[in-house]
């Protein structure tokens, strides 16, 4: 157990993990309970909670991050109002982005979450540029800040990944690249499309090509993630440049909800391990290793969390996300004419 974290902090980490899980379950249930309310494509973070919260537990005021279309988890941890988040996913007027972005494009710059790209790998250079800005400000006497760049394993096959990591290492930019490796590019397994994976090596070996540290960590263990990312964040803040962290997670839902033309009810199909490869054993093992109940059990066993306290957290989280759903359902749609706002600043 990470020595530097207080019991309060450990409980905070668990609480954030539970909030992400409940939020994502309510998004998923919306397809069944309120058909048609969510349009297009959603991507859930269930299974990645430990990695997300462990990473974000390292940041300090002024630090910033960018992410991908699988973006619900980060703002929850940063304190973004979950009512506004759910309303955005439902396309409503008081959504976080006013209904302009939807599930894939959450942003809360006030809290350091600068936004996402819906295109694989394309947010990595954005984070790198934000880190360039942080370096300029720091060298001018400002508080040294750090940028976290979240992306998936698939993004590491993009030119944007290669170009950005080369530049960040060359310029010693204060950025930590956090690759959430869930082993699937939608339906394609990593060992089918990644030379390192096919050779049995961790994907963090890619860091060697950019002369930066590369570390692989168990993304189901929030404290291991915390320790690994903390070291990388400290290194970046100290002016020593970027690190590539490969955080191994298992996505507990399919890549996204069903892709279908209007009129076809949307829902989540079974995980690709089952649907595509017929490998129920792999998926069942992942469910047995689910990081949220596992961390809860660990804290209870170590006396950091009481059973009654854990139940109270669960109840609060359920109430919060129920309120988010009810708020979003009741929130009006935007005025159609608002569609031409914000095209230009």
């Amino acid at each position: 157990m990470s020595s530097e974290l207080s019991n309060d902090r450990l409980v905070w980490i668990y609480t954030q993990m539970a909030r992400i899980r409940e939020f994502e379950e309510r998004v998923k249930r919306t397809f069944e309970e309120h058909p048609g309310v969510i349009r297009g494509h959603t991507h859930l973070a269930d299974g990645a909670e430990a990695s997300i919260v462990g990473s974000l537990a390292t940041i300090e005021p002024g630090d910033q991050l960018t992410a991908t279309y699988r973006c619900h988890g980060y703002p929850i941890v940063l304190g973004t109002d979950t009512k506004a988040m759910m309303a955005e996913i439902y396309g409503r007027r008081h959504g976080l982005c006013g209904g302009y972005g939807g599930s894939m494009h959450l942003a809360d710059p006030e809290r350091g979450f600068l936004g996402t790209s819906g295109i694989v790998g394309q947010g990595i250079p954005h984070a790198t540029g934000v880190a360039y800005a942080a370096q300029i400000r720091s060298r001018a006497g400002g508080v040294p800040t750090v940028v976290l760049s979240f992306f998936g394993d698939g993004a590491s096959k993009q030119g944007a990944f290669h170009e950005s990591l080369n530049l960040a290492s060359l310029w010693k930019l204060p950025v930590v690249y956090i690759m959430e490796n869930n082993n699937y590019n939608v339906a394609t397994r990593s060992d089918q499309e990644d030379a390192n994976a096919a050779a049995g090596e961790p994907l963090s070996v890619k860091a060697k090509a950019y002369s930066m540290p590369g570390v692989t960590v168990d993304g189901a263990d929030p404290l291991a993630v915390y320790d690994t990312v903390k070291e990388a964040v400290d290194r970046a803040r100290g002016g020593q440049g970027p690190t590539l962290v490969e955080s191994k997670v298992y996505r507990l839902s399919a890549h996204g909800n069903l892709i279908a033309p209007p009129g076809v009810p949307l829902h989540y199909e079974e995980h690709e391990a089952i649907r595509v490869f017929g490998n129920r054993e792999e998926y069942d093992a992942a469910v047995r290793g689910d990081p949220v109940p596992r961390f809860r059990m660990r804290l209870i066993e170590q006396g950091a969390l009481g059973a009654a306290q854990a139940d109270a957290i669960a109840e609060r989280v359920r109430d919060e996300m129920e309120a988010a759903v009810q708020f979003a359902l009741a929130d009006p749609f935007p005025e159609p004419e608002a569609a031409t706002n914000f095209v230009y600043a």
Partner: protein, 326 residues
């Protein structure tokens, strides 16, 4: 006080002045100031002036990140075609992030590149591809045709809170013209009437503005009085100035170095057809590059490009003084 300087000097003067004025302006790109003795490096330091690897996606994507973080980056992309390597960042990231965030962020970046270098650079470094950036809500496109506009449009682009493709024409870089000293801004969305006339409207962009003015001189000797309009920015586009001219002349010819289909000439023609049809006394005529990749060999290169004779010929056609081509 204005004085005569080359187009490329006017470009650099705008950058220098804006970097002096605003410490958030950052300039970098391939082969930008590799020497620490470069005047820009000496003036502004290595944090604000950097040389980048040949990594367009990172260069442009990082500019988006810098802008999100409160800076005003200018990326030197050298050739407009190099933006094609990173087209997602140019058209699908920079112009969309503000909108998708519901107005929470802004992305003030300038993509600076040259285009149209039809001087034997063959098929991949000669394109007039500004049309590719014109159908993108959130993106602006500026095409200076004179040294003064090169300075004034660049300064405006840097101060604009949106992503701007600022495209200089490589055939014009040594052209001299009067350029105001000190701060000089040319507003976006205001066309310039380069020559007043009453018989026909010629709308031209970039290098074809000069060709249109030459055509107007040829036509003047025949008693034809042509008005030449330079939109200066294609996004935003000053449609009212063009329509007012067509209302006066009743005839319009559009000159464009780009290939015909989906060219600036074609979308300006659509605006005139929809909003100015009743003014027209003859069909609209487009004088564009032929629909071919620009060839290397000089006679073939000249063959595919518009020039003053082709523009003058089109004017004679719309005025009924030459047979109208089918």
């Amino acid at each position: 006080m204005a004085r005569e300087i080359p187009y490329i000097v006017a470009v650099n003067e705008a950058l220098q002045l804006e970097m002096e004025r605003d410490p958030t302006v950052i300039f970098y790109g391939q082969d930008v100031a590799p020497s620490d003795e470069d005047p820009l490096v000496k003036a502004f330091g290595r944090d604000r002036v950097r040389v980048s690897p040949i990594s367009e996606t990172a260069e442009i994507g990082m500019a988006v990140g810098l802008a999100l973080a409160g800076f005003r980056p200018v990326v030197e992309l050298l050739m407009a075609e190099f933006m094609l390597v990173a087209m997602n960042q140019v058209v699908n990231e920079a112009p969309r992030l503000r909108y998708m965030s519901g107005g929470q962020v802004k992305v003030p970046v300038v993509f600076k590149a040259g285009y149209g270098f039809t001087a034997g650079w063959a098929g991949q470094h000669t394109g007039s591809i500004y049309n590719m950036f014109c159908g993108i809500p959130g993106l602006k496109v500026a095409l200076p045709s004179t040294p003064a506009d090169a300075k004034g449009l660049f300064a405006t682009a840097i101060r604009d809170d949106n992503p701007v493709c600022y495209l200089i024409h490589y055939l014009l870089v040594l052209e001299h013209g009067d350029v105001p000293e000190g701060e000089y801004l040319v507003p976006f969305g205001e066309a310039k009437i380069r020559r007043s006339g009453s018989d026909v409207t010629i709308v031209a962009t970039g290098w074809t503005v000069g060709k249109a003015l030459q055509a107007a001189e040829l036509l003047a000797s025949e008693g034809i009085d042509a008005e030449v309009i330079d939109p200066r920015t294609l996004q935003p586009l000053d449609v009212p100035t063009i329509l007012a001219s067509v209302e006066k002349t009743g005839h319009i010819v559009l000159a464009d170095q780009a290939t015909r289909h989906a060219s600036a000439a074609s979308f300006i023609a659509a605006e005139v057809a929809e909003h100015g049809f009743s003014y027209l006394r003859a069909p609209i005529k487009l004088v564009t590059a032929l629909d071919a990749t620009v060839p290397y060999s000089a006679p073939m290169e000249a063959f595919v490009l518009p020039d003053e004779h082709k523009i003058a010929g089109a004017v004679r056609e719309v005025l009924g003084e030459a047979p109208v081509a089918a």
